[in-house]
Point group: C2
Chain length 167, copies 2
DNA sequence: ACCTGTCTATCTATCAGTAGATAGACAAGA
DNA sequence: TCTTGTCTATCTACTGATAGATAGACAGGT
């Protein structure tokens, strides 16, 4: 795996666990066994790195939704994997909470992620109210599950969403 | 108003807008027209300040819920005021997203806030599934509304919650 | 086969700025 | 006189960022 990919991995993990401001070039460099100047070679400014991470995250997110037989269940699955497999919350959930404290172009990319999510959900669920509810509750449920260090609130949100949709 | 109260106000606003790591003793001191050493006099460590802010926020939050005739509507109102009047998201929503990157005792206070919320909601709504849904969707809706710079997703979440409850 | 130039990826060294934190002096008021 | 709150001055550690150098790979022309 090349250095750029390793940097994106490390940055995504660190932002999702600690927030944008808790990521430093030196920590990233130490993790990869290189110097911080070499990180700057690949991503001149921190916001370039941040933007690239969000772009990759968003791309992978929607790829995972392609060709799903049951859209809402698939959508919940993507969030559940993000939470339980990666042991971290949604990248854009973290960055959205910091919106005003991060560079404008990173915030713009996060905004786009949410717009795309709402569009996808509205398209597949047929109703923008249900779309708003699904996105909001899954994002909120992840964040609270992390704070409580207990996934059960997320599981309850998922169950409620799927049962209400079945009505 | 005394210095401590002013410090709590400024810190709460700054955390809610930019996150825990974007608050510095110097910025707080500049805002109040004092020196950073004086901030340390009132709150020796940053985590003392952070903990005090969460405690005050939580106390005020539940006071605003006292004696509400319609619990769910009152609950939504508290969140809506926080979002629209303060033009910021929930303090604990921001800190919850940063959980692993903030001092343990601040994270513990945030965790307690969410536990108390779930207990209050379960008590007043009668069902823990509905409680999980209300808390998660309102927290998530605030965060996404901030990122989109558009309150309508929050309004939709509120409307969905109240209409589903009426069924 | 041998230069020549260019590119990639890293290095060392350093910058100005800021972080949280502390010691000790000072002034006002009870 | 003692407490309270502020100050000046300083510390160590770290931040993102840049300059300049270097080793090695690669391609083109001779």
């Amino acid at each position: 795996m090349d250095t750029v990919e390793k940097l994106l991995d490390a940055t995504e993990r660190r932002i999702r666990q600690n927030g944008y401001h808790a990521v430093s070039f030196r920590d990233l460099a130490d993790e990869l066994g290189i110097k911080s100047a070499s990180v700057h070679y690949h991503f001149r400014r921190k916001e370039d790195l941040g933007k690239a991470v969000v772009e990759r995250y968003s791309k992978r997110f929607f790829e995972a939704l392609d060709n799903a037989p049951d859209p809402l269940a698939a959508y919940c699955d993507v969030f559940e994997h993000a939470l339980k497999r990666d042991e971290a919350i949604c990248l854009c959930g973290v960055l959205g909470a910091e919106t005003r404290g991060i560079p404008d172009d990173v915030a713009a990319e996060v905004k786009r992620f949410f717009e795309d999510n709402l569009a996808w959900l509205t398209n597949h669920l047929g109703d923008i109210g249900n779309a708003a509810m699904a996105l909001s509750s899954l994002e909120g449920g992840m964040m609270i599950a992390q704070s409580l260090d207990d996934y059960s609130i997320f599981d309850r949100v998922r169950a409620e969403l799927l049962s209400k949709a079945a009505q």
